[in-house]
Symmetry: C2
Subunit: 504 residues, 2 copies
């Protein structure tokens, strides 16, 4: 059995938030910094982001998008052009007001040279990109514009949490311009599907796709599409969004073109993004009381080989065997990538080393000692084996089995997460049912008929629930929306049913 | 002959700075933004940066480095810890002083919620990384730390120039920690060599490696190594730097470790970086009066295929032929990458289209019309063919020749640049010789014996010269430093010889 002294304290069931933070520390993913609300992303954590970036970037390019780069600092007057947009971001902006530091008499540094026009560090880039696109678009021949940007953004968050909510975070933001509403709509939903597929295929996170209710839309959007995931504590996490912006930003920034009939008209735009938040969602979906569990496709190392050395003459041969095994493994592929293999020959206690790799979520841990050397075998454990006991196979058999083991780990994780999601998704018709469910410790998504946005906020606030989305495919919900249903709040005719949940 | 109406105006010889700007506009690499001093990097320009990133990143990883990410916003008090460092950057910092925007009575936005402690947008990251490393380093077992960061930085530049000097720019910054001075020194020079090799292999830019004279060192460095390139106008461009920081930052940020003898000591650190400036250097090294010339390894597309369509039944077959040719080409490799091929079937005038691709520096342009279809041939031109006339080869022969054509283009560019560098590198012994040279219109590097940093500034300022470096391999300089040489300025014994130049 697992050595409990080495596991994560507290356990998930005791204090989920503290457990989450300890998993991150133990896995060496990130740490706090002296820059308020921003974290340092350490190599193991950044390695996961690099894989996410590479895979998403390829999918964006395969669907006709190109990358570009727009300025970090946005002149305030540009933001003034779209009122609802700035209302959504004005409360949490890093504002640049000076262009120099000067030394005070006490030997401290202080801002100097005030700027005539302040700038904000981009919280998102619709404004500066909208202004730029207005210069690029003249004719229908210039459309569509399909551009993505990999960037850092800053939103001055008061309550932060590693990966899930930090003042600075890394993300990608797609910004496209189209000649027709239909084409922009298609782009919006196509990118949502791309996100949903990627998150499921790579992070093993099942999500529910839907549209946001009006109050929850991106500031300035006509429609916000989202994918919502469910964490192990029963709270929802918005994992990605795709916005149909209609002609709102085109009108604010004057993105106009001459159509095929020779008439001037405003264009239709979209924007869509995912961020380092995905890593937080992955941790809270899969990790266990022994630490991080990595879906193998995003593991910076698929396999760690641990030589068991005893300061004897045999050590040299054991190390040689390890490195030959690494070579053999590196020539194999999983999910179209060569296997990423590391030989960890640091001279620390084997048990401690093994636990480090368990906590870092390495999918496959191998031990090679005198016995494996003699018998030309491989002893290994898969991260989802909770007793952490190793299986021994002849080397050739292991090499034949390894990519299947990685696939099986992915399947295990996505299946477990799907089961969790489906068993934590409840349809109710009344507030009484909902309250009984919550009072008995029920958690997860709650599906309720609703009549309109203004209704029910008191009830929701009392139970810390928020509307997550109106599902795009209600047929996947156990009790789908009944056209004759009555709103659970007002008892008027319900226009649709909405998924509610406590959320990050 | 080239149609002069379509070439770049002005020519290089008329106004190099204006020509440079026009080349960038015509190639669609970048444009000005409303964010003062920052540019928008457009897809064709960003595509070049992506290739530079990918190649450098692989070289960093192959030499044992990992990527991580540190905060954008640096608390001012962190900067106060290293006086010479902050002296170098305090004059040009974007300072964040507020965390919110509020609407004024006139409907404008204004900064609100002043911060107790202001932040600067990172101009470089030694401070925040130094503080972090102090937490990571305890024992010699924790060393070396070999980390790189891909990031944006802001330096509030007064006079900006596309790619070469912008307020915000993209770069990588390596930051390493070592147990000994020797190991840190080795890292510093190894990274300089990596830069020098990459810039020559990929950007076809020959450089001179050297150390900066004391006044020109990075603020806080013990020694700054650099690679210096020579642009076609005879001005030098610093293309990359690698800094041996000694124990200066380790002492400022308290990076200490217990060595093998059980004693506490300060570590030794390095930092090194290259930026989007490399793209500016590449443009000013290779481009001509017809526009951008791209070294093929960094061309976002190696080849553009232009179908010549005449609105006849044949058009379908011509397009089919183009796409089959694209498939065949895409299966070939150059510099270990699949050929990047684009079929440009926009319906614009063929001559105009052809000139767009000339100006964008596409290495190989192909035309496929009825004749090529009928004879199953390929008509193509290499970008360095100044008459832009096309050669026709049977398809099979073209496919056999194409990677050799790309190699030959690279060789042509690096050879031409090397010849330019060697014919613009002059050794003099006196100021009189130097002045005569300059008065007669001479340009390029000037190698002069020097006794110390404080000498000669009036002369240098008068001629707008600056010390570029003390070459590491003076044997490559036509007249190497003579140990008995007298300083050209003071006539005292010279300690070394220095390369001077007008510079970007």
């Amino acid at each position: 059995m697992a050595n409990k002294k080495t596991a994560i304290t507290p356990q998930r069931s005791q204090d989920f938030a503290a457990w989450y933070q300890q998993v991150i520390m133990a896995a060496d993913l990130a740490e706090h910094s002296s820059s308020r609300g921003s974290m340092v992303i350490k190599p193991w954590g950044y390695g996961i982001w690099e894989i996410i970036q590479k895979q998403l970037d390829q999918r964006f390019k395969d669907t006709g998008h190109e990358n570009a780069y727009f300025p970090l600092l946005i002149p305030i007057k540009l933001l003034e052009k779209e009122a609802s947009h700035i209302d959504g971001f004005a409360q949490e902006c890093a504002v640049v007001t000076h262009s120099r530091l000067t030394s005070t008499q006490e030997g401290k540094l202080a801002p100097a040279s005030p700027l005539e026009e302040p700038y904000v560090v981009r919280p998102t880039s619709e404004a500066i990109i909208g202004e730029t696109y207005a210069k690029w678009v003249h004719s229908y021949r210039d459309l569509p514009i399909l551009i993505n940007q990999w960037a850092n953004v800053v939103r001055w968050e008061m309550r932060t949490r590693f990966f899930v909510r930090t003042s600075e975070f890394l993300w990608q933001e797609g910004h496209t311009v189209h000649a027709t509403a239909e084409e922009a709509q298609e782009e919006t939903t196509a990118m949502l599907s791309l996100y949903s597929d990627f998150v499921s295929d790579y992070l093993a996170i099942p999500t529910i796709s839907g549209t946001k209710t009006p109050d929850e839309r991106f500031p300035g959007a006509v429609e916000t599409y989202c994918i919502e995931a469910l964490m192990q504590d029963g709270k929802a996490l918005q994992a990605g969004t795709s916005h149909f912006l209609g002609q709102i930003f085109a009108k604010a920034y004057n993105i106009r073109f001459q159509n095929q009939q020779g008439e001037q008209q405003h264009a239709w735009t979209t924007s869509w993004g995912v961020s380092t938040r995905l890593i937080g969602g992955m941790i809270m979906t899969h990790s266990d009381d022994d630490g991080l569990v990595l879906p193998p496709k995003v593991a910076p190392k698929h396999i760690v080989i641990q030589p068991i050395l005893r300061n004897t003459n045999q050590d040299k041969d054991i190390l040689k065997y390890c490195h030959i095994l690494k070579e053999s493994l590196s020539s194999l592929h999983y999910a179209k990538e060569p296997l990423r293999v590391h030989v960890d020959q640091r001279s620390i206690r084997p048990g401690e080393k093994n636990w480090q790799h368990i906590k870092r979520g390495v999918p496959i841990r191998i031990e090679i000692g005198p016995k494996e050397l003699k018998e030309q075998t491989v002893s290994f454990a898969r991260r989802d084996n909770r007793t952490h006991t190793k299986t021994t196979l002849p080397q050739a058999a292991f090499l034949r089995a390894i990519t299947e083991e990685l696939s099986a780990l992915h399947t295990y994780l996505i299946d477990k997460a799907r089961t969790f999601l489906s068993t934590h998704l409840h349809s109710f018709h009344s507030l009484e049912e909902t309250e009984n469910f919550l009072a008995s410790g029920g958690k997860g998504f709650i599906y309720l008929p609703w009549c309109k946005d203004a209704i029910g906020h008191e009830f929701l606030a009392k139970h810390k629930l928020s509307p997550r989305c109106i599902p795009l495919k209600p047929q996947n919900i156990p009790h789908q929306h009944n056209p004759d249903a009555k709103c659970a709040f007002s008892h008027q005719k319900a226009s649709h049913s909405v998924l509610f949940a406590k959320a990050y």
